[in-house]
């Protein structure tokens, strides 16, 4: 992304080293062959938009638990004691 690309996608991955004539460090690190594609952004605006979409926003959403009547099964009518 930082180089100016958008639409990055790994399209294929597989073990391409097993059975090779000589041992290598490939298995030790779980090395796999991959194909990937990307596209150079058509213009700066497209790239900025793609970069912005990577920004990590954590949506604040109240869970149903906070709205639920957590006392409903407690045998408490909600009325105060005399």
């Amino acid at each position: 992304m930082a180089a100016g690309f958008v639409d990055f996608e790994i399209t294929w991955q597989a073990d391409v080293f097993s059975g090779a004539p000589q041992a290598s460090s490939a298995a030790e690190f779980g090395t796999q062959g991959i194909n990937f594609r990307a596209r150079k952004a058509a213009h700066e605006q497209e790239w900025y938009t793609a970069m912005a979409s990577l920004a990590c926003e954590v949506p604040i959403k109240l869970t149903p638990l906070l709205y639920a009547d957590v006392y409903s099964d407690a045998g408490d009518t909600g009325e105060s004691e005399p």
């Binding site: 100016g4 194909n35 596209r39």
Partner: protein, 205 residues
């Protein structure tokens, strides 16, 4: 980029490049010797290269093939397109690209190893593909004009470059707007320890 990487790696870039050149020059000279990776026609088949892509190409170019993926499986190239092949090696992917784009297209293969460039040029000549040329150069400073290419391909090369961002920026530079990147490479699924990254033999093996 300086000869000694200014990143978190204290790798000797000159030594790394020399080790890579020696490794792949050996593959070009003696592809059947047996390496820590597969080579040649069996590898091409394993990676999903179609037989008709290889038809008419010199056996020497096919035998020295040592990719890790298949840039053409992502999408075939179209007649008339311009292609840059980064780390073209013995030239097989450049020759396939030249067949796909036809005489109205152009292919530039770039490699840093003279022995590989000579082999690739010989292969192009034998295959009668006059619209592919091989240029000496580095992925981090490509010998191709800005905004020239429709497609950049590469196969098993990006992982050998310590400064991947510099290489990707060069790929973006030579591509036209909306140009495509179609890359075969590797990924590691487990973190490589910092001390292992300093070992040059691990970069090539």
């Amino acid at each position: 980029m300086s000869d000694s990487l200014q990143t978190e790696l204290s790798l000797d870039l000159g030594r790394l490049r020399q080790a890579i050149q020696e490794q792949y020059a050996a593959v070009a000279r003696d592809p059947g010797r047996g390496y820590h990776f597969h080579t040649g026609r069996p590898l091409a088949s394993r990676l999903g290269y179609h037989d008709d892509w290889l038809e008419g190409l010199p056996e020497g170019s096919i035998a020295s093939f040592a990719g890790t993926g298949n840039p053409f499986r992502i999408g075939q190239l179209q007649p008339g397109e311009r292609v840059v092949d980064i780390g073209s090696g013995a030239g097989l992917d450049s020759l396939i690209a030249a067949k796909m784009v036809g005489p109205d297209g152009q292919v530039i293969g770039v490699d840093m190893t003279r022995a590989m460039l000579e082999m690739a040029r010989k292969g192009a000549s034998e295959a009668g593909l006059g619209h592919v040329e091989f240029r000496e150069g580095l992925a981090e400073s490509l010998p191709a004009p800005s905004g020239w290419a429709d497609v950049v391909i590469s196969n098993g090369v990006l992982n050998l470059l310590p400064d991947k961002l510099a290489a990707l920026r060069e790929m973006a530079r030579v591509l036209k707007p909306s140009g495509r990147l179609q890359i075969g490479d590797i990924l590691v699924q487990q973190a490589v320890p910092e001390d292992a990254k300093q070992q040059i033999d691990l970069w090539t093996g």
